[in-house]
């Protein structure tokens, strides 16, 4: 029995069994060595990858600062926009339940349950209508099931409330509140406030380094939204969290850095005056356009400024745009329409538009002529209806006779007759200023000895510059124009022609090549009103940080940066808290290059000079006479005004692309822009108002009434404020 058992026993072949042991040994040795490689040698690399798997940095959006007007009226704020969202991972398990939810959500939002295919849904950007709920959720589920899928954006508050009430019945469906910029004053202040847009692709890296999230965060595109972007935007917070494979947040890995909300900004604008100015401008434009039965006046600007501190009280441009339409996204058709409009509604024409200033520019000529002794204060100047000049392009040029007509010529060919300096300003006599600017030496007829040496172009340039022309003002608004005061050199380079006496004549009355922005025009007026002190024009009253504290901020007008301390003293000025920034006082600061002129040719002496305060006073008196003298250009508008007003009008001939295209540049009958500049009270000016109407015609009769209405509104608002016990502007 025992033997038979042992006979049946299996005898393993030694080498065959040993081979199996060897195989086992080798196999597990290989596996274990692989384990050592992965865990010990490559361990760190794999650990890094594991950390990368579960680490996610989340940017916490900072709320953008609010923009107020000087009285605390909100010009830009953050409104809540409601989106209906579905978090795929939070939907119920049961398909029937999901279908019920989809149907009910569809009924409320109007988004179809099914529309298109999943592939088509991938082509749609967020918030763009097209794909059905099923497709949107399916797509979101495959990408990040714990991230909210926007089913319908910007629903009404009613819909948002309905959805919120049903959250118990609709697991996974919720309302997402997205901040959206809201501009209560809309187009009224759009040119100043500006609008927001997505971070441009070429600046993505730059903004990302500053903690912004492209495609989520928006940045300023124009107005103070752009120029004060750094202050308004605040700083995004940052959380580093652990997430699971579905993207669900588990916990904070690092201490979260909370977002710093953007600072609030108080502008110098008074919305009430802004509204009044807009109404006055639009009323005037509509009146004349209706009167002529065509769109005669296509655009216009009104600015009001406090000459003592440079604060802009109102800055209205027409046409402008509705910045609320850009709040969610910039509609392509609307943007296209705006950018192709020849009137440039997207630009703030108050600072970007460059126009011939016409007679308002005579303030520069007057300053120079009296200060340089071209004319004395009581000298009587003969001002016929027109002058005939022998125009020479070089000293040896025999010259051609060319008439220079005064604006009064059509009504009275004899002109103003005998005028003293102040009356030249009050009546705005072109002939007088031709003589002051270019002298009488080259006249074909008349007394050549009257003013043997005029101011000449180079000194005129200096005096114009001293009043703020031919340079950007440095205001905290983007897109400022330089303006232009021509020089002989400029003409040779740009026109290929020598400077002539006639050019000086034309430039003396602010025409020809002279270009200025409305802001420069009002600055020249403000400087005269403020006894020669040119204040830095500013749109920012103060900046209030997240702790409701007014912070000290300086603005560098060259690179548009905002700093906590002055950077470059030449271009950096304090914008908050509000203080008057003196750029220079022409009666004290030597900013005017001295020239030695003879026979129309000038050479620098290398010295700088100031303007005699007497000159400034005389010009102020001339501007006052424009109101008080019955022949003054502003007599009709301001003679009855309860407050003493002084001012200057301008009717600037122009011939730009638009006029050329309409064949309106006829000799002697060029179209004209209408300007008026006025300030009040005369004794202690607190407001300067300028109006410009493109193709408006005569300054006094078109721009004048606009300034009159705004002046009226200014003192009306002031009296209301005083009555309410609020400190006036």
């Amino acid at each position: 029995m025992t033997s038979s058992v042992s006979d049946n026993k299996f005898h393993f072949s030694f080498w065959r069994l040993t081979l199996f042991y060897v195989v086992i040994f080798i196999t597990f040795t290989v596996l274990l060595s692989r384990l050592v490689t992965l865990q010990v040698i490559e361990g760190e690399t794999w650990t890094d990858q594991a950390v990368e798997n579960f680490t996610r940095a989340i940017s916490v959006p900072a709320s953008r600062g609010i923009i107020y007007d000087r009285n605390g009226y909100i010009l830009a704020r953050n409104d809540a926009s409601y989106n209906v969202v579905i978090v795929p991972a939070n939907l119920p398990d049961d398909d029937a339940d999901i279908q019920r939810i989809y149907r009910e959500v569809s009924a409320i939002t109007g988004v179809p349950v099914n529309s298109g295919t999943l592939e088509e849904a991938k082509l749609f950007a967020e918030c763009v209508e097209g794909p059905g709920i099923t497709q949107l959720v399916e797509l979101g589920d495959s990408l990040a099931p714990y991230s909210a899928v926007k089913v319908k954006c910007n629903v009404s508050q009613d819909v948002a409330r309905l959805v919120s009430e049903r959250t118990m019945d609709w697991p996974g469906v919720s309302i997402e509140i997205e901040p959206m910029r809201d501009y209560p004053t809309g187009s009224l202040t759009a040119n100043v406030v500006g609008f927001l847009g997505p971070i441009p692709a070429n600046l993505e890296d730059e903004y990302r380094n500053l903690g912004f999230v492209p495609r989520r965060d928006k940045v300023g595109y124009s107005g103070v939204e752009l120029s004060l972007q750094d202050v308004l935007s605040g700083r995004n917070g940052r959380r580093v969290v652990q997430v699971d494979v579905a993207g669900k947040e588990i916990r904070n890995i690092q201490a979260p850095v909370s977002a710093i909300p953007g600072s609030n900004i108080v502008l110098t604008i008074d919305t009430r005056l802004q509204a009044a100015a807009e109404a006055a401008l639009l009323g005037e434009i509509n009146f004349w356009n209706t009167y002529f039965g065509e769109v005669r006046i296509s655009s216009g600007v009104v600015i009001a400024i406090n000459p003592q501190n440079g604060e802009i009280l109102a800055m209205v441009t027409y046409p402008t745009y509705e910045n609320n339409r850009m709040a969610r996204f910039i509609p392509a058709y609307y943007y296209e329409q705006l950018s192709q409009d020849p009137r440039h509604p997207l630009l703030n024409n108050a600072i970007s538009g460059e126009y011939p200033p016409g007679s308002v520019f005579k303030l520069s000529t007057a300053n120079g002529a009296l200060n340089e002794g071209v004319v004395t204060i009581n000298q009587v100047i003969d001002t016929p209806g027109q002058l005939v000049l022998t125009e020479k392009f070089s000293p040896s040029d025999p010259g051609l006779e060319r008439p220079f007509v005064d604006w009064i010529y059509d009504d009275n060919p004899d002109g103003f007759g005998q005028l003293t300096f102040k009356y030249c300003i009050a009546y705005s006599s072109n002939v007088c200023f031709y003589k002051l600017g270019g002298g009488t030496a080259s006249l074909a007829q008349g007394n050549r000895e009257e003013i043997p040496e005029g101011l000449n172009i180079q000194p005129l340039y200096e005096y114009a510059r001293a009043l703020g022309y031919a340079q950007p003002s440095g205001i905290e608004l983007p897109g400022e124009g330089n303006g232009l005061i021509p020089s002989p050199q400029w003409k040779r380079i740009n026109k290929g022609e020598n400077w002539s006496t006639g050019d000086t004549y034309i430039a003396s009355v602010g025409q020809g090549y002279v270009l200025a922005t409305p802001l420069q025009v009002i600055m020249s007026g403000a400087t005269m009103a403020n006894d020669g002190k040119l204040m830095q024009p500013t749109i920012v009253h103060e900046i209030i940080d997240e702790n409701s504290k007014v912070v000290e901020k300086w603005f560098n007008s060259e690179d548009f940066t905002i700093t906590n301390a002055p950077t470059d003293l030449d271009v950096s000025y304090q914008i908050s808290p509000s203080i008057p920034n003196l750029k220079w006082d022409i009666t004290e600061t030597p900013v005017i290059k001295d020239y030695d002129c003879e026979g129309g040719y000038c050479e620098e002496t290398g010295e700088y000079k100031t303007v005699d305060p007497f000159v400034v006073r005389s010009i102020q008196e001339g501007m006052r006479l424009a109101v008080t003298d019955s022949q003054g250009t502003l007599y009709k508008i301001f003679s009855d005004f309860p407050v003493a007003v002084a001012g200057k009008t301008g009717t600037a001939e122009y011939c730009d692309d638009v006029a050329l295209a309409n064949n309106r540049c006829q000799y002697g009958a060029w179209p004209t822009h209408s300007w008026t500049l006025a300030y009040a009270p005369y004794e202690d000016p607190e407001v300067v108002i300028a109006a410009f109407l493109y193709n408006g015609g005569e300054g006094a009769s078109v721009a004048g009434p606009v300034v009159g209405l705004v002046m009226d509104a200014y003192f009306e608002i002031k009296s209301i404020d005083i009555a309410r016990g609020v400190e006036g502007n």
């Binding site: 026993k9 069994l17 199996f20 290989v30 384990l35 865990q39 594991a50």
Partner: protein
Amino acid sequence: MIRGLSWRHFDFWLLGAVVLATAFGVAMIRSAIAGNEELLLTVSRQTQFALIGLGVIFLIAAIDYKYWLALYRPMYLVMMILLIMIYISAQPQFGAARWFQVAGLFIQPTELAKIVIILILARYFEKTQNEPKDLRWLISSIVWVGGLTMWILLQPNLSNVIVIGVIWAMMVWQNGVQVRTIVILAFLAALIGLTAILIPEPYSPLEEYQRARVFTFLFPDPNASYGATYNVLQALVAIGSGGFWGQGYGHGTQTQLRFLKVRHTDFIFSAVSEEFGMIGGVVIVVVLVFIILRCLRAARLARDVSGSMIAYGVAVLIFFQGAVNIGVNVNLIPVSGLPLPFISYGGSGLLSLMLGIGLVESVVLRHRQLEF
């Protein structure tokens, strides 16, 4: 048969190792749930199966394995019917029909089939022990195995066909197949395998997913991090980030944050390696090797050919499945879907292995006919 049974030779070392591995598996499955509600029941289910399996070990050990061999005909027939049924009637799950759903549980006859095939082969080699080990002998054994295996191949379940093929080959090897025959067969197998892979659809005998697996292993796409290589990559990250000591039980980020997929079954070794580090991996390997060696000890002690072959077959089964599973986890071989013996979640697999261990115990209990 049970009366007068002496438990003196019962291999408690083997039982201990199996219990240790299974308990560790249950603990690891508990960690691998990682908050997934659908997996919540797996721990209690696996525990139930483990306890039942423990009973099965003792029950099967108590019964002389010779009785099973005597019942080889009905056993073979019932197994074949089960496999045919699963081929015909089962609904597709995860791309392949491999389960019977009975009372909410998935029963996988294929797992049982592997034990049955070990028994069938054991009987065959005992019967033919004195016959020449020629081609006829070899082909007969293939026919026996093939009768059951073809239905598994049709499921299709290539991994288990390979497991069965390896068991068969290793048994044939120990029973003295000639080296020349092996070379011829290996050449043929390689030829068939290559053509299967290279022949394009729809003529290929391989399913698309099987070809895809082979291809992703051979030519991984470096850009396809969320594609087919995702699971394997996440497994490597899990293992690698475990380091020497591991991140601690329940603290492996890959496992707990569910970056590691099928972490309670196919990739449980990665979960272990992440949470218990290299120490955990080595312990698993050591326990598995210990179980295999104890089974081989039983094979050497067995009183007859069939006993040796049963114990040997079970050893090969555990070795091959374990090695392949770990090999997949450390990305040395393509994804196969074979579980890690005793550790991976899966009732049928665990029960079948327990059954196998019971048979080994039955062999070792009776390795001497008479006790004095």
